[in-house]
Amino acid sequence: MSTWWPSETSHARAVDLLFMGLLATTALVLALLFFLLLRFAIHYRAGNASADRSHRIRKSWHWEVTWTTATLVAFLGLFVWGAQQYVELFGAGKSGLTVYVVAKQWMWKAQHLGGQREINELHVPLSHTVRLIMSSQDVIHSFFMPAFRIKRDVVPGRATDLSFRPLRAGVFHLFCAEYCGTDHARMTGRIVVMQENDFNRWLSSQDVTGTLAAQGERVNRQLGCGGCHGNGPVRAPKLEGLYGKPVPLSDGTIGIADEAYLRDSIVKPRAKIVAGYEPLMPSYEGKISEDELIAVVAYIKSLAEKAKRP
């Protein structure tokens, strides 16, 4: 389905169909209502004494039951339709090409796993699922890509994610949709969807100071994480092979060592204590920048991948 405004993912096309459904419902209800309003208002105007006003409807309840049921059924249908797509979008899997996005007043910073960085631009390959992991350095922003019909708030203090799979190459709008201060209206950019070859060429043409994981390793060293999470005297969980594994926690529950868990464990280490360990780690909140945090998490992820390989 193609429309007069671009919709460039399968999700966007599904949303456009949903829009058509909503529009049709609206048009139907409005047409019926306006027809009745005009018809009654004109036919039963006070000046028209000849209109038949006998046999007025006295009992109203079966009318009430009819239109209440009809609206309820229609509304429930629309609810299910919209909910399905929402669950697919935000309950999406965790696979895909990961790109980290950091928002700050008033710019978007993106970091690719290879260490490539860009500002107010996001290059992605065609026909690949891209998964953005987004965090904010100051206030709430919202990553809005109208051509893909999606947006999600970027919230300080936590990470949110957003997945999409572009179906056509081109350049599309990127907007900040959550009001964030003075230059909110200028916190815009471009989404560049490229053929896979072009994308790879673009990746390799960027100036890179090591992959994201390598940058993370540097931060890891600077902050001295290995002092405890290594073979030192203080006992702390090992980082190797940690990512993606289930972790038994001291409150008896089992957590999964995913992005959010690693993030929380660095900035709010007390929130989730691994069973059998002392709550000793200090919070790195405010001591580590968003960029560094992303790099360290990427580094810990890379350790798991290394562990998988023999």
Binding site: D251, K268, P269, R270, A271, P279, L280, M281, S283
Partner: protein, 212 residues
């Protein structure tokens, strides 16, 4: 003055009912006013159970418990005073109202002492806050709620004391009787409500984390 209803009412009975209903509606409002704080507290306690438990251990439970007993007793005195005012025992009723107001003052005084201790222990977020150990940030959140909640409650107590003092004076002058006692009853409702809020604040602020 009190034997005829205000012009918008048919009789004193209606006026009395209106006053009581008005106060109950106002108290429903107050529940939601404190409710906003309780939601925030609950959310953070859910997110940081250990931090909140540890922070709560730093509150002064002896003062808190004594203060609860003081408020409960003053509430009892007010309830008694209202029943006496209706019977026309003006002198004793006035004395009891005044005693309840005095207990309210004692409550505030002890609250002040408690704040002083917390200041000494550097537990005042945004002003002087030092909390050692891993739970520093959630302890900050706990004490923010602690000061806002007890501060807003103390404001209510202070208003209640003034209301009770006025009611005590008027009772002494014999303003209330079996036919006309709406102000005394309504003031009593307010005071009991302040007590009721404190009962919940006590459970949320002083009791967590005592067992460990």
């Amino acid at each position: 003055m009190p034997e005829t209803p205000a012009f918008q009412f048919v009789n004193l009975r209606q006026q009395h009912e209106v006053a009581q209903l008005g106060m109950w509606v106002f108290l429903a409002t107050e529940v939601l006013f404190f409710g906003g704080l309780i939601l925030g507290y609950s959310v953070y306690r859910f997110m940081y159970p250990e931090g909140f438990a540890e922070a709560a251990r730093h509150t002064q439970i002896a003062i808190g418990t004594t203060n609860t007993a003081i408020l409960l007793t003053s509430s009892f005195l007010v309830a008694w005073a209202v029943s006496l005012a209706r019977l026309g025992a003006h002198r004793l009723a006035a004395l009891l109202f005044a005693a309840a107001a005095a207990l309210g003052c004692v409550f505030l005084l002890m609250k002040g002492i408690e704040y002083r201790i917390e200041y000494g222990e550097h537990l005042v977020p945004g002003y002087f806050f030092i909390f050692r150990g891993p739970n520093a940030t959630s302890a900050w959140l706990f004490f923010s709620f602690y000061f806002v909640a007890t501060g807003v409650h103390a404001l209510h107590v202070a208003i209640g004391i003034m209301v009770l003092a006025v009611i005590a004076l008027k009772t002494r002058r014999g303003a209330y009787s079996e036919r006309y006692h709406a102000p005394a009853t309504v003031a009593g409702l307010y005071w009991h409500f302040v007590d009721l809020v404190w009962v919940f604040l006590f459970a949320l602020i002083y009791l967590p984390g005592r067992a460990s």
